[in-house]
Symmetry: C2
Subunit: 468 residues, 2 copies
């Protein structure tokens, strides 16, 4: 036997090689550094989790999933216009309030969703004050329904009331539509559960000035291809969920000439541009319905175990499968690890909330964290943590996106098509980026952070898949 010092000197006389067992993320990173890596495709034994390959009627799940991700990737979401929610969202009535996440009644709603509902009822003129709005909401006279039941999505509380203006996104490849409100900005805003004069005033300005001005410009402009904007923004430091600075910039570049051509009031144009320029998240309310429009054509593919929805109402976290699109699988919403605005702490935080996880479901957002190291840095991580995070998500996704790519990974496609089977087999849960709302109604944003989706809804869905 060689002595310890002989062993060490032997080591350094030979070129260093790495054998990587299991998750490929570490191997990929070393390979990028020029370190020779032998990668062994290994996962912990599935201990009683045999790979589900076919439904009982013989449908190949891999084929079904391939069809699902193909439809998602071929989707072409473009902005076709704006209108009031009640005019354009199917099934919307004067007494309907849509909210984020899976279905929930007033009694079980979290503080920020209640706050947003109360604010929206006052904004609609259906109640004179938040307190009276709460009474109306509890009376049974208001219909509450998930955005997702109406081809819509909403960030945070996700409240859409009848006279709010919404973006109309058309997936021109499949002729389906998706809807989302216009982003209000940060801080004391309705979607974080805030209400009050400032909130109503901003919403009225958005309906009276922002909406008609943008609508006229959009009507005249060439269709704005949101898949192309998202693809570019992923090359400019955004992941298009918690960072939207590039997306917002690229949207402004495209729309401002048409604002100039369609509005004769220069000061009004300037106000509209400055409202958007002051809010780097303006593009979130476009990236979300783009994701929704791309995902919906995958709904109803028999045997597909790919997710088409992940969404939270602040009380429950819910998912839907492409192969079973009418059914929600839910679990309690998780607690966000994050950074808080001055004066707030984790004690003020509501659990995870909002439809914005539609971005991760569509192969960007937290799944494209490697494209946005600034977000990792914001919560104390490094650029390598951001890369590792995306590498981990490849483990639970069926494929890589053809159109959404990440410069830091040498333009590798983003992880796409969250496969419930891979989640159960690997034990890896989806990683999400999110804002944090105060747990009480009427207050608003208190921070931002990251978390994992709760395990139980995936376990429950997997039990169903086994019996397909």
């Amino acid at each position: 036997m060689a002595s310890p010092s002989e062993k060490r000197s032997e080591i350094f006389r030979q070129p260093i090689k790495v054998i990587n067992i299991g998750l490929t993320g570490f191997a990929e990173s070393l390979r990028q550094q020029g370190v020779p890596v032998i990668s062994v495709d290994w996962r912990p034994p599935p201990e009683g989790v045999p790979r589900v390959t076919h439904t009982q009627s013989g449908v190949s799940i891999d084929k079904a999933n391939a069809e699902a991700v193909s439809r998602i990737m071929s989707g072409r979401p473009v902005i076709v216009g704006l209108d009031l929610a009640k005019h354009v969202i199917p099934g919307m009535t004067e007494r309907t309030i849509l909210h984020a996440g899976p279905p929930i009644n007033w009694e079980r709603m979290c503080g920020p969703t209640r706050g947003a509902v109360m604010g929206a009822l006052v904004y609609e003129g259906l109640a004179p004050s938040p307190d009276e709005a709460a009474l109306l909401a509890a009376s049974g006279e208001i219909v509450f329904d998930p955005c997702h039941h109406h081809h819509a999505v909403g960030p945070m509380a996700g409240v859409i009331s009848p006279s709010m203006p919404v973006w109309i996104i058309e997936n021109t490849e499949f002729n389906n539509h998706a809807y989302c409100t216009l982003n209000e900005g940060l801080g004391k805003v309705l979607r974080y559960g805030a209400f009050g004069e400032d909130v109503y005033k901003r919403l009225h300005w958005m309906a009276d000035v922002l909406y008609p001005t943008l609508a006229s410009a959009i009507e005249r402009s060439d269709p704005i291809d949101l898949r192309a904007v998202i693809a570019q923004a992923l090359h400019m430091g955004d992941e298009c969920h918690n960072r939207n600075r590039a997306g917002t910039s690229l949207f402004l570049r495209t729309i401002t000439p048409w604002l100039a051509r369609t509005c004769e009031d220069g000061d009004r144009i300037a106000q509209v541009i400055e409202f958007i320029n002051d809010n780097d998240h303006f593009f979130l309310n476009l990236s979300m319905p783009a994701a929704k429009a791309m995902l919906e054509p995958a709904e109803g593919i028999e045997g597909s175990t790919v997710l088409t929805v992940m969404a939270r109402n602040g009380t429950d976290f819910g998912i839907k499968l492409a192969g079973d699109p009418d059914r929600w699988f839910t679990a309690p919403a998780g607690i966000v690890e994050g950074l808080f605005l001055p004066g707030f702490s984790d004690e003020d935080a509501n659990p995870d909330i909002g439809d914005s996880t539609i971005t991760e479901t569509a192969g960007f957002g937290g799944f494209a964290m490697a494209a946005a190291p600034a977000i990792a840095s914001f919560v104390g991580g490094t650029a390598q943590d951001a890369i590792s995070s995306t590498h981990e998500m490849y483990e639970i996704c069926f494929t890589e996106h053809e159109h959404f790519t990440i410069p830091a990974l040498d333009f590798r496609g983003t992880p796409l098509g969250i496969d419930i089977r891979l989640i159960i087999e690997t034990g890896i849960l989806p990683k999400l980026n999110t804002g944090i709302a105060h747990k009480d109604p009427g207050i608003g944003m208190v921070g931002a952070g990251i978390l994992r989706a709760p395990r139980e809804c995936f376990t429950e869905a997997f039990e169903v898949i086994r019996n397909w």
Copy 2:
């Protein structure tokens, strides 16, 4: 002795460690991957190159360089307006033509510089045709002078003629000014040596429409802080030399409200925005004078071996030292390794040309390649190549920038203050990004690529420093 197979099994029973000798780039990269690295600070023996620490009069070179980089970093370049070159650039006459790089006469000028001069003389109405312009240029009646002798910079041929509009940049910390033309776009443009009706027409539109419209908007807007825009753009995939998509986007976000407020003709506003939107390099002609304005206050610091100028006229490459600001050190301009537009090859390429290496001199451009992996990819490299390139440039820089940081390097400051001593001691030459002009007058852009600065000018400068 252990058998070979025993040796191998010993290796894999022990945790892998790396000892890195010399350049720290490789060690940094491994460390980011979580691989334990012991870094040994080692350089090849300087073989007859003792470290120059003081001038003969006893001035500490390190102190002088610290003062130089401190002045560069504390500079605050802001856009203060636009005007015609002849009204605002000191020493500019009706018969002056400024060009990129070190001084050169008509006889030695390369094809693209000649082409740009000929085009500019026709544009100015001083000659009726390019041929007659060439006769006028050769006659001695035109004064040729480097942009750098007039606080100006110009990309590629860098030609500034008297009635061209120029940006006025003020470094508010030191009250010095810098100037640059407005960027024309890509392809058949004057700065790449092209002339002809299209070129004159565009230049006239820029003078008649773009310039006054932007000038009115800039006059009313808050001062645009270019250091802040560059800092943000470096977080959005730009290095602000060969990639300026984010910088151009951020500039548009800021100026468009003021275009709307100061111009009553909506169609004219739209044309101005679309001209800028169609040209992702629009911001280059702002990042360059920003760099120039930041660097000039370091000129004249006794004993400083930091570069304040690197510039090429397409024939010669020239540098200037902070400690000897009136003297050019030159060497033949290098050959660019690059990719070519369809129909062109390296046989068509002019040698390296332009003042745009002012960006590398100021701590961004090619030195911030790690921020812009898309550029590395364009010339066939990987994201890791981009990171390695920036790591290598740290080896020849005096410090790291306080304000310009790189997300992929965990927001480490960019390499700043190219120290002629470190170039000679390490043998590492500055790495530059650049466009490629056709070698003949009148044609224009043929490609883009990367190269190293030529060694001879640094060797010559170092010989001078040794005798300070």
